[in-house]
Symmetry: C2
Subunit: 88 residues, 2 copies
């Protein structure tokens, strides 16, 4: 089973990397970008068969290791085999 974990900064937290990229895009003429934030995505292949159980384990991984609970939030998506992602 495949899964994607998104880790992004919480809304109130400044994102200097996102600001720098937005400014660089503006400099290249892409003025339609109103807001831009940069996060991480962890794409995983899991040895698991139960999507709900896998999701629970992934959320636990986020709390224990993958995300900083003070500054970051996370979303878990299970990608069913051959199917579309199921949003958490």
């Amino acid at each position: 089973m495949r899964a994607r974990v998104f880790v992004r900064l919480k809304r109130g937290i400044l994102d200097p990397q996102g600001t720098a990229v937005k400014r660089a895009l503006e400099g290249l003429g892409y003025r339609e970008v109103q807001d831009l934030r940069v996060g991480r995505v962890l794409e995983m292949e899991l040895d698991a068969t139960q999507p709900d159980q896998a999701r629970g384990r992934l959320e636990e991984m986020c709390r224990r290791l993958l995300a900083n609970p003070v500054t970051e939030e996370f979303t878990v998506e299970i990608v069913e085999d051959g199917g579309r992602p199921r949003l958490a």
Copy 2:
């Protein structure tokens, strides 16, 4: 309109960050993780109304600035207002 751009290492390129995270997860007992790769996700708010045109501009941004064409590949998702992402 909202959009997400995923930038990830190409298949053949080593991902030391992903390897380190996978090993750390194993150390915590999460042995179901068979493969793990770390990428970037850029979440944007765009001043645009035509999804196809926006997608074309985003792919151009990736080629010009957001992705390294030698080592990275990218995917663009347009998130319709209130709807599900449309995969590129």
